[in-house]
């Protein structure tokens, strides 16, 4: 474990370089094609135009506002989903009856999770924060519930029995055994769910709001601002990569190391 950490630090920079290199090539190629064929900015923007759009957005604060609005919605929807999904998953993982009742429902609704909820969400919550948070909630909720159930089922029965015969009551078993034992799966579920949520978010924001990254993309289309569209697309991808690589993946790895029933190799 210790040696793995050391090599992490040493390999960090070259790994980043090798991951960034293909993008650099792509950007160079893009600029080359735009210049060579004299592509109209109405069809596709040049690299400097996108950079300028980014700098303008930073200067007038609109970029930060859009990104901030999107992140706040994702954070709220995810937090609410985890708060409901983990207790439900715990109950399903321990009570056969509850599992039997909810499993078919979850299976059905997990197909609908995502943008299929936008029409009804906008009817219920109106256009804006509530409707989009609801879509995010749906995207995260089912995956986290499923992974919580899975996590509980991987806990050896002996661990529950040991806790019970050491005097742990029902709630104490949940707190001391089921929750920590299922935590690696729960974190994996959150990571997967957030991936769905991020994609759903962009789609929902195109329809159901007047701020956020998705809205920025969609609005730019009406004004033929291809440089803003491409800037938005780059941000959607880049923010997710940063979120996943810098926050979620390390969190998942640490959880497995610290709480995992089996050691990661």
């Amino acid at each position: 474990m210790r040696s793995a950490n050391r090599s992490d630090g040493r390999d960090g920079l070259p790994a980043f370089f090798w991951a960034a290199a293909p993008f650099v090539v792509l950007i160079l190629l893009w600029q080359l094609v735009v210049e060579l064929f004299d592509v109209s900015p109405l069809v596709f923007p040049s690299v400097p135009a996108v950079l300028r759009a980014g700098l303008d957005g930073l200067a007038d604060g609109s970029l930060a506002a859009h990104v901030g609005a999107s992140l706040l919605r994702v954070a709220t929807g995810t937090a609410l989903a985890v708060l409901v999904a983990v207790p439900l998953g715990m109950a399903m993982g321990t009570q056969r009856g509850i599992a039997a009742f909810f499993t078919p429902l979850l299976r059905f609704f997990s197909v609908l999770a995502g943008i299929a909820w936008i029409p009804i969400a906008t009817l219920w919550f109106g256009y804006g924060f509530g409707a989009i948070v609801f879509v995010i909630f749906n995207a995260v909720f089912f995956v986290v519930t499923y992974n919580t159930v899975l996590g509980v089922s991987t806990i050896p029965i002996e661990l529950r029995r040991a806790a019970a015969s050491l005097g742990a009551a029902r709630l104490a078993i949940v707190r001391e055994v089921l929750l920590p034992g299922a935590l690696p799966n729960i974190v994996t579920g959150i990571r997967t769910g957030l991936g769905f949520a991020w994609r759903g978010l962009i789609a929902a924001e195109m329809i159901a709001t007047s701020t956020g990254l998705g809205y920025m993309l969609f609005l730019a289309r009406d004004f033929y601002r291809t440089e803003v569209i491409v800037l938005g697309m780059i941000l959607v991808g880049a923010i997710w990569l940063a979120l996943d690589r810098l926050l979620l993946a390390p969190l998942e790895r640490r959880t497995i190391e610290r709480w995992g029933l089996v050691r990661p190799t």
């Binding site: 029995r161 806790a163 005097g167 742990a168 610290r258 050691r263």
Partner: protein
């Protein structure tokens, strides 16, 4: 005095794969008095684990009763400590937290739980690994923690299901001697399951032979304590008793 009484206990499983009922225990009665070390020996599949799981409260009997101190047991409880073959230590807790778990569940103050856990760990020479995680320990050390975790909770009876079956032969003998020593010093009540006839005779005051769900024979072990392997391997009465139990297991 808290006596364990098992009355006419039966357990029938339904095996969904075979689509038929399996009688794992068939009218077992026994009695364990406080401070007694009772071993159950028998071939694989004879119902040993089933018997222990029923006493622990992990399973419900099909018929019959289990009484501890005159009261029928109802589910698992801290009056019956269990040591598992798979150790069953909490992997996300340190060794100290594992041993302190029982006292903590009983609501004792944290400092006292830790002090008690530390005392027990030192008793088996594990004071120096108190802050390690179970996976960092060898199998033998993990099972020492398993035994001490159960003992630190001061149960009325200790239930052990083949606790030393997963460690190498050398370590097994050490663990057996340690358990014998703890028993000689503190006289806990122990119900010990094994398929190792030598182990049963070495440890127990009384060996019950179980076969096909029924108790076939009861063999007292009048070998004086303290018991140590060095003295017993060549001891004639030890060898004779092992032979007797082996005979009973094989013909049962």
């Amino acid at each position: 005095m808290k006596e364990l009484v098992v009355e006419n206990l039966s357990k029938v499983y339904f095996d969904p794969r075979l689509g038929e009922r399996v009688t794992a225990l068939d009218g077992v009665s026994l009695r364990i008095t406080p401070g007694e070390f009772v071993a159950v020996a028998g071939p694989s599949g004879c119902g040993k684990t089933t018997l222990l799981n029923l006493i622990a409260g992990f399973l419900e009997p099909t018929s019959g009763r289990i009484l501890l101190d005159g009261r029928e047991i109802d589910g698992p409880g801290p009056d019956r400590g269990v040591v598992f073959q798979s150790y069953a230590l909490f992997p996300w807790k340190t060794v100290l937290e594992n041993v302190a778990f029982g006292p903590r569940m009983r609501g004792l103050p944290r400092a006292e739980c830790e002090a008690r856990a530390r005392r027990w760990l030192e008793l088996v020479g594990l004071g120096h690994v108190a802050n390690r995680y179970p996976r960092e320990l060898s199998g033998g050390m993990q099972q020492r923690v398993g035994v001490v975790r159960a003992l630190a909770n001061e149960p009325e009876i200790l239930l052990m299901d083949e606790p030393f079956a997963a460690v190498d032969a050398q370590t097994r003998m050490t663990l057996q001697e340690e358990l014998a020593r703890i028993f000689e010093e503190r006289r806990p009540t122990i119900f010990f399951i094994t398929h190792d006839v030598n182990e049963a005779v070495f440890l127990a005051d009384r060996v019950l032979v179980l076969s096909k769900g029924r108790l076939r024979e009861e063999i007292p072990v009048p070998i004086p304590r303290p018991r140590r392997w060095a003295a017993l391997v060549e001891n004639d009465s030890f060898k004779a008793l092992v032979g007797r139990v082996l005979q009973a297991v094989r013909t049962a």
